[in-house]
């Protein structure tokens, strides 16, 4: 009976002894990539409210229970919505958020390229003009600079 008691005590103590010692830095590492569900746009690791301190404590408890970072983030998203993470977890929202700026950038680039194309076309139609040249003209920056440098004060 005594042996059984010792085994039970051992089984209770050992996991406690070997339980992960979660540091505040490890908690912050996860909290840094999450946002306070109450305050607008404040990272969870930096938010000073009591609610955020509780949520950081919750993260610590989940880490101690062996939850991974992704599981913790998913749990918070389930409870508070996609606003608690820096990029949405929902695939449709994630795609919308991340792809759109590149599409917009592409449109901006297209506008720039179209400007070049328009310019190029206009230059080509002016065949009577001399061919494009790299010779400095009156507007040439280099020639103005050289004039400035050597042309007297």
């Amino acid at each position: 009976m005594r042996k059984i008691g010792l085994i039970i005590v051992f089984l209770l103590i050992v996991p406690t002894i070997f339980a992960q010692q979660i540091t505040e830095d490890e908690v912050n590492q996860i909290a840094k990539r999450m946002y306070c569900p109450v305050c607008e746009n404040i990272p969870l690791d930096a938010c000073g409210t009591a609610a955020c301190a509780d949520w950081r404590y919750e993260i610590r408890l989940m880490m101690e229970q062996g939850f991974t970072e992704e599981q913790i983030r998913a749990d918070f998203v389930d409870r508070f919505g996609d606003r608690v993470v820096g990029t949405p977890q929902d695939p449709a929202l994630r795609a919308l958020s991340l792809v759109t700026p590149w599409l917009l950038g592409l449109i901006a680039l297209m506008v720039g390229l179209m400007t070049f194309w328009k310019w190029n076309k206009a230059a080509e139609t002016k065949i009577e003009k001399p061919a494009p040249s790299a010779t400095p003209d009156a507007n040439d920056y280099r020639s103005i600079l050289e004039k400035d440098l050597y042309g007297g004060s």
């Binding site: 990272p43 930096a46 996609d82 901006a108 400095p136 040439d140």
Partner: protein
Amino acid sequence: MLAEIGLVSLAFTLLAALYSVGACVYGQHKRLPHLILSGRNAALMTFVSLFISTGALEVALLTEQYQISYVWSVSNPSMQMFYRVTALWGSQAGSLLFWAFLMSGFSAAAIWLNWNTNRRLMPYAIAYMMAVLAFFVALSLFIENPFTRYWITPTGDVVDTILIPAGASMPRADLLASSARGLNPLLRHFGMAIHPPLLYLGFVGFVIPFAFAMSALASGDLSSNWIKATRRWTLTSWLFLSLGLLLGGRWAYDVLGWGGYWGWDPVENAAFLPWLTGTALLHSVMIQEKRGMLKLWNMFLIIGTFSAVIFGTFATRSGLVESVHSFARSGIGIPMFLFWSGMTLVSVWLILWRNRRGELRDDNEFVNLLSRESLFVLNNVVFMALFLAIFWGSFGAPIISELFMDTEITLGLEYFNRVTTPLFVVMYILMGIAPLAAWGATSLKRLGKAILIPFALTMVSLVGIAMAGMNSIGALFGYGVVMLAGYVALYEIYRAIAARSRRGENPLAATFALLQRSPRRYGGYLIHLGVTVIGIGVIGSTLYQQETQRTLSVGESLTIDNYELRYDRFDGQQVSRDGRIMDIANVTILRDGREITQLRPRRDFFPGGQDGMNSMTIAGSHSTLENDFYVLLVGWEPVNQNTVTFKVYINPLINLVWWGGIILILGTVITSLPANVMPERVRKQMVVLAGANA
């Protein structure tokens, strides 16, 4: 009495501004110079009347007239005089009035300075400026009136109204004073006290070039006159906006307690957006000035900048940033949205109308793809892409997801770092190459020759950095790109000074002469140099930031890198002169075992502060050019303060962000000076003095 004075002069301002719009438009349409002159005088009068109105509110704040509800909500008897002054823009009603006051000041100055030189543009320019002013004054008068007062009605209710309710009496002055709320603690910081006026100056300043551009469209004077008339206004606005952004960053670093200066918060981004379009405009107008090209694009850019200013003001003041649904609840949300969309639509319509008539056609034609104008177009593409990406992350995606998918989302650091970093890299590359390219056409050979020495200097620097222990390819690439832009600017300045020195001038006199002769070019190089220094600071403080958080007992230490922090003592419940209660931890900082300084990170509490706004985390920091050792007091054991939690950051090169900002500001000031600004006599004296000092 002060409330009545303020209110009457505010109402007069609205009437004067509306009269000015009508007189200038009708006078121009019917060719009635006396009516235009009258409209101009009315516009100038708005400055006088708003000065009186704003002055009345300021005097009310200084003399503690707590019966005025605005004064009661942003001040209290324990506040220092300085913060009483800055409380003028401490809340919505006051800041709208202040915005209008600055706008009227800028308008009056623009009218005064341009009346004789740009007579054709002035009537419509005045009309546009006054239309914007009238809108903000109307907001101030009808929705966010800073002159409402508290009254006790016969039924015992306390109400704040503009007019005195029948049979109402004044509340007791001592009761009002004892319950006054005081300024939001987060605003009780020097940086935050002057950050809003600087941003407002930047914002309202961009209204001037916008009004002149719209006037050019309305009057048909589509030459570069509007650009010449407003170049300095654009630069001045850009200068104030840059200063405002820098001070906002510094305030965040000092007061918000998260170890950084830029969090991609929608409010910050709302101020950054017009800065981006304004920067694109400053480059793009050069093409119109030099080559008569991009007339249409410049019109769109100035509208975009103005639109971003109004949208930023709308987004941050209407509640849109918090939630799409809260903006309608804010009194100014819907009027601002209508004004913003109305002005934008009218402006775009004007552009399209003129463009359809062929009046915005370029004067010159493109010569070569490899030219400065091409690189400037690419630069504009990058700035617009940054604008769109930041707008999307701050407003677009959150609004669309909430409106159409019923989900609130936050796009944070992950999004912004991923999307903006490549664009900033391209921006720095262009910043390095574009100044070396010629207008019209250049050749690869010439460009290669010009960039050779800056490129070699960059490579040497990178080898040095790598030998110092930095081995991240990404960081080295980032530093390389940023430093190339800086070396190009430095080398160009050096070449010019060296050439003049060879003619016998000493370097100081040569520098002075160059800045005198061509302030735009060399001021521009200084701005590029400032942006380079900021870039080096941003890379260092972002990629190499170290942080740790530990709970310590008295006498215990934590170690981070080669630093050690020792917790010495806790001074709890210290009361300062302005009534704040401070909890202060005393710590000693050692580096390589040697004591370097003692710091006192603290938490300030403001009794009676507004909910959620009554505490402030003030970091203790030891600053050197190499890094900041930055300590935050995160928490402590409430009973005996024996154990305290600290969060410690090492922010490498962070001070370069502020130093770069100073260089940028200096460069902008030089750029906006006219060539040969000083009289000949003074210039000669300066040159002689420089010679004597050599």
